[in-house]
Subunit: 109 residues, 2 copies
DNA sequence: TGATATACTATGTCTGTCGTAGTAATAATA
DNA sequence: TATTATTACTACGACAGACATAGTATATCA
């Protein structure tokens, strides 16, 4: 399991990635993260939902209600053009970050 | 310049790396980081010194005073065996982290 | 009927980063 | 000789993000 401080700067990016193709909602995103990483990373519920509100405040995502008639009503999120631009920036930043961190990692220990 | 939230989980690792060979002190470590990363990452002074005290509290490093007779007396830090073990762990964790993050990064945008 | 899965919200704590400011000594420069 | 820059820190407080805990509400399944 990965300590979350490491991932901290990428939680928003992870969520945005999962919204690139289709809108989604909390539970589904959370499940997707778990499955995609084979349980190597599990985003805490509170972390996820607080990320949603931050992303929405920044206008990187928009919310709307699902029309499911059964079950509790879901809040769906859709990525905005601004969100896509931000996602792209973070992807570019990632390569720089990786380079920087790897200057301090010994591969041969 | 990299946003520090991204590096957050690796500041301690960066410092430990720079102590692997020889003891060092704040200013020198700070300079080494700047130079090694070609100014791509600059650790803030307060971040650095608070990392020192955290690392010392965890017994990953030990401090001692330099014997320079001129200039302000420096506090040197030496990595401990526990620190080396921790450093190694973080290196191993890094590869997992990288794998995880890259599941959410689009290379072709 | 009770457990489990879904789908959240609210509240408060903690940690690490960082802004700001201050202290103190030496070296360089005008 | 005065002041500015560089070195080498310490103190304090603010803030953001992660997370623990708890609670609400619906549906499904054994």
């Amino acid at each position: 399991m990965i300590s979350s401080d490491v991932i901290r700067g990428y939680n928003d990016t992870i969520i945005l990635f999962l919204l690139l193709k289709d809108p989604s909602y909390g539970y589904e995103i959370s499940k997707n993260i778990r499955e995609l990483t084979k349980e190597q990373y599990i985003m805490k519920e509170t972390t996820l939902y607080s990320a949603f509100s931050r992303l929405e405040k920044n206008q990187y995502i928009e919310s709307f209600y699902g029309d499911e008639t059964n079950g509790k009503r879901r809040t769906y999120y859709r990525i905005t053009p601004l969100g896509r631009a931000y996602y792209q920036e973070k992807c570019e930043e990632w390569f720089v970050t990786k380079e920087v961190v790897e200057k301090f990692i010994e591969t041969s220990l």
